[in-house]
Symmetry: C2
Amino acid sequence: MNALSLDRLETPCLLLDEERMAANIARLKKHLAILNVPLRPHLKTAKSLDVARLLMQGPKGPITVSTIREAEYFAEHGVCDILYAVGITRNKLERASVLRKQGVDLSVVVDSIPAAQALVSHAREIGDRIPALIEIDADGHRSGVRLSDSEMLVEIGRLLHEEGILKGVMTHAGDSYACRNMEALVSAAEQERAITVACAQALRVSGLPCSVVSIGSTPTAHAARDLTGITEVRAGVFVFFDLVMAGVGVCSIEDIALSVLATIIGRQHDRGWIIVDAGWMAMSRDRGTGKQQTDQGYGLVCDLNGDAYPDMLMLEANQEHGILGVRPGSEAILPNLRIGDLVRILPNHACATAAQHDVYNVIMRDSKHQVQARWTRFRGW
Amino acid sequence: MNALSLDRLETPCLLLDEERMAANIARLKKHLAILNVPLRPHLKTAKSLDVARLLMQGPKGPITVSTIREAEYFAEHGVCDILYAVGITRNKLERASVLRKQGVDLSVVVDSIPAAQALVSHAREIGDRIPALIEIDADGHRSGVRLSDSEMLVEIGRLLHEEGILKGVMTHAGDSYACRNMEALVSAAEQERAITVACAQALRVSGLPCSVVSIGSTPTAHAARDLTGITEVRAGVFVFFDLVMAGVGVCSIEDIALSVLATIIGRQHDRGWIIVDAGWMAMSRDRGTGKQQTDQGYGLVCDLNGDAYPDMLMLEANQEHGILGVRPGSEAILPNLRIGDLVRILPNHACATAAQHDVYNVIMRDSKHQVQARWTRFRGW
């Protein structure tokens, strides 16, 4: 496509700053290279082949996905080493096996006897032995078997191993999102590593194989100082970063590669409001920074260069309207923006905001923020 | 399609109870028929031709939309009386005029001199005189000109009228969502009516035409006792209803027609958690009930018949994981659900939850909740 300046776009739409993204990708890859552990990028954030190609070690993967749809999409485009990292259900096994018949090395995740039994039954009935990782609960965040439940862990492991489908263990240190400083992050990363490695060890001392020891979250991936015993790291949001990650402390506001372009459609001067044509449909309803020290509302407002206005937030969001104003308590003065002017709004949560859009408008700083490409996204299950 | 039982669906997916929806539609239509005011349904909630056909007076409309994409989609399917109810921006005028050239009677909304001037310039440069409504701020919710700013109102009106494009006034009483009892709702509805009619009158006494006096929100549409002076009512979420509307008091839980079907993928017994394969990607991040008297978390959990379990909520949502548990403070006991079982989850906000999906799985109670049809949705701008 020919380069297009931002004022030629229809709003609202999603902008992706390619240089920031490239720097974000390089940063994690460099860190993991020093720790000598490969990355299995989580593509639930990007859901885009163009972004995937910049992330993957090679055209065949490996990758992590959060839906069978993602697995199918990337498989269609040649990726063949895929971990589906949400506990598998019986109603998804058919599509999983179709992919595997096509030559895709698709692995799945279980954290209970019934789920393991479903995989074993499927293998016996359909003849497709789908390799499985046992999910470990390293921090009480969500799913997984605990290290203290090592009997259960070994029982699940034995069930899978008898069918020849035990591949290893995996965890997601989701509670690291609640960390607020580097010390806490380093400690969360070490806890994630140590517990997952200990679970792998518990399987091995029971005579079970455990070739894969997989961990992952953007905060812990960046904070890890040592990854002894870990065979791969999964992370997704590090590609774009967002206000939540800035609040956690793993990036700065200036690293955030994703923003929503919006047009000013109205003003309510005495209330200090500027109304834009981007509401929650464009930003998502994600208010992840609401629990953090600095609440960024529905997003931090920037000028067309992507530089933040002081303390200017999207205070409220309706479906297709956003209300911009000054952060409560701040004495900042609203910029002199007029109806028809454009702003860029940084998201709380890149995964959620990107999910509201079907296209990334890819911009490059050294071309004065012109749109250089349009990359498509997909969605669904 | 052949009828399909719910346990044959892949999860997560969106269910639409056709009988509940039909009753919801009939209820508002009956109410407005008594008040003798036509409905211009807002299709931002449904974004579906199948639903639109059940809502519209006839195949040609009238309808309300929140994006040009919606206008284009419904116009492709024969609808030709369309109000685009978000303040118009210059970057959308081209597509608006393309629709009008195709014979669509598309009107737009402005609430400022610059926006009115942009319409006038467009008419002079392109030759397309797009009819406009002036948006009125009836309750301080968001956009619009206030009754106390009648000078501004008349100035905008005169600008539009000189170009022959002044069609009338419109408002959206969005603050009615904050009402908590019928008395407050009735009062909000009367305020919406009275202020909008007074603004129409202010235009008329200045010698300006005002043929359309349009109001709308689901709570005020249902609560209105008298609509003297109003020429049309817009409403959208009344079709499906949701937990927020139940909290406002305009429907009961049993009226909610939309739910998300999910599969149980794990349990954390000692934490009282049940994990399902529906997270915020399926439910949206909307937490509208968080500000209401009864906080329903990310949704209220029901059995396969759509009957709510006592005090069982989606307490937390990650991208593709939901954590179900008992409402904080409740002594209810979790139902004995096993891994692989299905549940249905009622949404906070029907517009936001439906927006996460591309298909409605239409179920009918008298056929034991079998899926009778699949209706597609669209999205984008």
